[in-house]
Symmetry: C2
Subunit: 239 residues, 2 copies
């Protein structure tokens, strides 16, 4: 299971993305011109939710001068309000994600618009993966990432909200530890860790919405879906 | 603020660690013999809690045949029980971490012993950093990492539990976004993201307890402490 060496870089030169842009083509084409060179089999591509939402036409108009306009949208996109304090609303989305403001975001979006999460973020990831596989001949894993807060800890980290071709969770239950004993529970959320690693080369203000991770364990490439990472309510102690 | 390219590798060949081993020396020495070459200024070293606890003599005997023995230790190390379900106990530790079993762990530990968290995990990180700086002449950031679960999401990720010389949170509040507008809130938990990235090259069963991350943004190297990442109870909506 061991991975030896990872290299991670942000893909520069991806311009503004508009509705109906085919992200798989855009990314594969840009990577061919990039100093880091073209995509290779078993690269993992991490693509931020924002450009996915833009490509899928998920921008909706809001009244930027009226905070209520944003708030109504947040409630409309939620299946449940989990917590509320002042302007902060923690919601559960249709996908089962628990996050601030139903994942709706205003930064890096033209004023007067808000970006909603993709309707089916696994499908978004799969579409990018399929285009790159079929039209560009390269077999990559794709993670659609978003920036979430966490309880108990300060600061935001990027997590996976849609995956295709790369594991969400790698189950090391029952693998012997280095002393040869059977381990009890070690399910590692590798897709979230890959999303977090990618964020380190993106930055929030640098406008780099795609990162490539090379060197990921070949065993982690398989069919997958984001539900691997979403804890069912009945197992959850904190909602 | 942009980082262009990160390289991450696991440091191989670190043997069993015993009480009073000086980790800074052990790691710097091993890296000099490693194919990846010696540590350089502005590398980030991620060191798993387990070897830190071993080096600091934080192994305590338990009765491996009696589950109660482990449970008593968990309660003793907790300042508060946050949730309990069956055998699972979520506690708040003296450091302010909220995690399963007060961070006490039995894997990769000799049977009959349990590893407690370091008493002061920032000090643990600082000691490693200082030894490498003073005795080996290299200025690295150090993160002591541990594997925590999260509410709402399945799978574990590695997070920082002690830091020295590298930022916990990078505050991008007020930085213009790529459309030139001032962003509202983007505090990125870079130390947690670095810990997660490092976990990808460690694996749980491969016995690689140290990773090096090269290429981290030079601006992120500064004095730091783990309290940057610990949300004060009064700000927290989920305890």
């Amino acid at each position: 299971m061991k991975v030896n060496r990872l290299t991670i870089w942000g893909v520069e030169g991806i311009g503004e993305i508009s509705a109906n842009d085919q992200l798989g083509d855009v990314i594969a084409d840009i990577c061919r011109q990039e100093p880091n060179g073209p995509l290779l089999d078993n690269d993992v591509l991490v693509v931020t939710q924002k450009i996915v939402s833009k490509a899928e036409g998920r921008l909706v108009p809001i009244d930027a001068s009226d905070p209520l306009s944003h708030k109504q949208l947040v409630e409309q996109e939620a299946v449940r309000i989990v917590r509320r304090r002042g302007d902060l609303i923690i919601t559960e989305t249709k996908h089962g994600f628990i996050c601030a403001n139903s994942g709706i975001d205003l930064s890096n979006i033209e004023r007067g618009y808000a970006a909603l999460l993709p309707i089916d973020s696994d499908k978004s990831a799969r579409r990018i993966r399929d285009i790159i596989r079929v039209k560009h001949g390269v077999n990559v894993g794709v993670i659609v990432s978003d920036t979430f807060g966490r309880p108990w800890r300060k600061g935001l980290t990027d997590v996976a909200i849609g995956i295709a071709g790369v594991a969400g969770v790698v189950d090391l239950r029952g693998t012997p530890d280095s002393l040869g004993r059977i381990m009890q529970v070690t399910e590692v959320a590798v897709a979230d860790e890959l999303a977090s690693a990618a964020e380190l080369v993106m930055g929030k203000s640098s406008g780099i919405p795609v990162a490539v991770i090379r060197g990921v364990d070949a065993d982690w490439f398989r069919d997958s879906k984001i539900s691997e990472l979403v804890r069912p309510p009945q197992e959850d102690l904190f909602r």
